[in-house]
């Protein structure tokens, strides 16, 4: 029984060994066996989906609650369960016993479970692209206001996706070094669209905020209340402290009054800014952070235990 537990359950998800042995959870690549197993698993998954579609209304909330609980349970166990002595220990040299087995299994499964959210997020992000395409295709089809801009968007999207995929496939087939040497059309297209346009536009978009921040500060940064005055003074000191030339000049001036006098040296710009940073700014931000942390912890527990309204109804 014990051997059965080890051989059947431990390798499940725990794909840690560099050269994993074959077991019921895997199959050699490129063989009909792996394709058959994958096919059966997908069929089973879609079967589950069909069962969910047919599920009675009263079961919806418990079903989604169970999924959430099981997903969270893994990480809670990782935190609460005794840690393995050293997760790098080769499988055959690991200590034996239920607790040790579970702790090693948990440690080995972390990289695997961590991937679940990556993969599911990727599947869900596809939904965003799907919605964007749907909205803009409808706008073009119905010739709504500014429909030519939707055409621009769709053409840019198709071009980027095509060249991105084409270049990626070429690199996989020929090797990155050869592509960088030969520069086929795919490389030009991808480089121009991605590096020459998308990246530059992203940087330009982010940099636009500089102009808005200047205009907003000029208009809104007025000493109308105690809070605004404090905010303005702190911002002024912070900005002065970011200018090396100002800091060096100011501090030099203070040093000329008494370089060896600890009291005088408290008035250097770096000391004043450092005092504000260490004793006012950091605890302020820390308090905000604690607040956010407590909120996240409470929200995490509520979600995990289905106390939040997330499940079906």
């Amino acid at each position: 029984m014990e051997a059965g537990w080890r051989h059947a359950v431990i390798p499940w998800l725990a794909q840690a060994p560099a050269a994993p042995a074959l077991n019921m959870w895997n199959a050699p690549a490129g063989t009909p066996e792996i394709w058959m197993k994958v096919g059966i698993a997908m069929l089973a998954g879609f079967g589950l989906l069909a069962a969910l579609i047919a599920a009675p209304t009263r079961l919806r909330r418990p079903i989604s609650g169970a999924f959430i609980f099981l997903a969270g349970l893994f990480w809670v166990l990782v935190f609460l369960f005794p840690k393995p002595i050293d997760s790098q220990t080769p499988h055959e040299q690991r200590p034996r016993g239920f607790v040790q087995d579970v702790s090693f299994w948990l440690a080995d499964a972390i990289p695997v479970v961590s991937n679940f959210s990556n993969i599911l997020t990727a599947f869900i992000l596809g939904l965003g692209v799907f919605s964007l395409v749907r909205i803009h295709l409808m706008r073009v089809a119905k010739k709504q206001n500014d429909w030519p801009f939707s055409v621009v968007l769709l053409v840019s999207m198709v071009a980027m996706a095509t060249f991105g995929y084409w270049d990626w496939k070429t690199r996989l087939d020929l090797g990155g070094a050869k592509v960088d040497e030969a520069w086929p059309l795919a490389a030009y297209g991808k480089d121009l669209l991605f590096d020459g346009m998308l990246q530059v536009m992203e940087a330009a978009m982010f940099s636009l905020i500089a102009f808005f921040i200047l205009s907003a500060a000029y208009r809104a940064f007025r000493i109308r209340s105690v809070e605004a005055t404090i905010l303005l003074c702190a911002a002024l000191i912070a900005m002065l402290n970011l200018m090396g030339a100002v800091v060096v000049t100011w501090d030099g001036m203070i040093e000329s009054f008494g370089k060896d006098n600890a009291f005088v040296m408290n008035f250097t710009l770096s000391s004043v800014a450092g005092f504000i940073r260490d004793n006012l700014q950091t605890p302020g931000i820390r308090a905000i952070d604690f607040g956010i942390g407590l909120g996240a912890l409470a929200m995490g527990l509520r979600l995990w235990l289905s106390l939040e309204r997330v499940g079906g109804n």
Binding site: L13, Q15, W25, A29, G30, W35, G45, L52, S64, G65, I68, G72, V76, F116, N118, L120, A122, F123, V129, V152, L153, S156, M160, A161, G164, W168, E181, L192, L193, G196, M197, L198, V200, M201, A203, A204, S207, I213, A217, A228, I230, L231, M239, N241, A262, M265, F275, N279, L280, G284, A287, I288, F290, A296, M299, G300, L301, L303, V310, G311
Partner: protein, 243 residues
């Protein structure tokens, strides 16, 4: 081999895109909207490719089907259980169904569950050391000098440091009380503390503002560098026979 004229063409296209987006500073025109939609399209197109090329292929597909041995690399078996994630991912698309849209909550719920399960561990690793470092000495260990000397004695706590630590603690507690006791209270102490908390938070926000301004200005300076130094000075002028 990359064409010799390609780098300057690429720079020119980049500058045109920058000018197109910067035109919004004057007014939102059709010229700007053209570039704005092009940007959105390119970003969505890249996401479409990256979802497969950078995420699903390596983290899902390759692990599911494995890889055969090639020169220097051993064979890696495929793990069929990964296939179960596809139907779960497909569940998200039920959001468009009026009758069965509750199913779309399952994949989102799994992601939320995975996130929430980590919060306990994360809370302690993130905030534990911070709580510890907030416990600062509140009594001086030496009265030899009031102000911390330029070369302080190792391990000594000077009265001026204690004042700094008190201010630290006061800021932390009053700012926390501002957040945690945001409901109405008749206690003069709490009201006073939350007012103090608000004022002291303004100092923190002022410093954050200064730091944010630095980033935003630097990003703008970088764009000016791209247009006027990389394109004009280093690209265009040498090309048309300048220095």
């Amino acid at each position: 081999m990359q064409s010799e004229s390609y780098p300057i063409i690429k720079l020119f296209v980049g500058v045109a895109c920058t000018v197109g987006l910067y035109s919004v500073l004057y007014r939102e025109t059709k010229f700007y909207r053209f570039f704005e939609h092009m940007f959105l399209g390119l970003a969505a197109g890249w996401a479409m490719f990256a979802l497969w090329g950078e995420t699903l292929k390596s983290t899902w597909w390759d692990r599911m089907v494995g890889s055969v041995a090639d020169e220097g690399n051993p064979a890696v078996p495929g793990y069929w259980a990964w296939a179960l994630l596809l139907p779960i991912g497909v569940m998200a698309y039920f959001v468009v169904s009026k009758k069965h849209n509750w199913i779309s909550r399952i994949p989102i719920g799994i992601i939320l569950g995975l996130w929430s399960g980590q919060q306990v561990q994360v809370w302690f690793t993130r905030y534990g050391p911070q709580m510890q470092s907030s416990m600062k000495p509140l009594f001086p260990t030496t009265w030899s000098e009031f102000i911390t000397p330029l070369q302080p004695e190792a391990g000594a706590v000077y009265p001026a440091q204690v004042i700094g630590n008190l201010i630290f603690l006061l800021t932390l507690l009053s700012a926390m009380s501002y957040f945690l006791f945001s409901f109405e209270t008749k206690s003069k102490l709490f009201n006073g503390m939350t007012t103090w908390g608000r004022w002291l938070l303004m100092i923190g926000f002022g410093a954050i503002f200064g730091s944010t301004v630095m980033t935003r200005f630097t990003l703008m300076i970088d764009r000016m560098y791209f247009v006027f130094i990389e394109f004009f000075q280093q690209g265009l002028i040498p090309l048309i026979g300048g220095r």
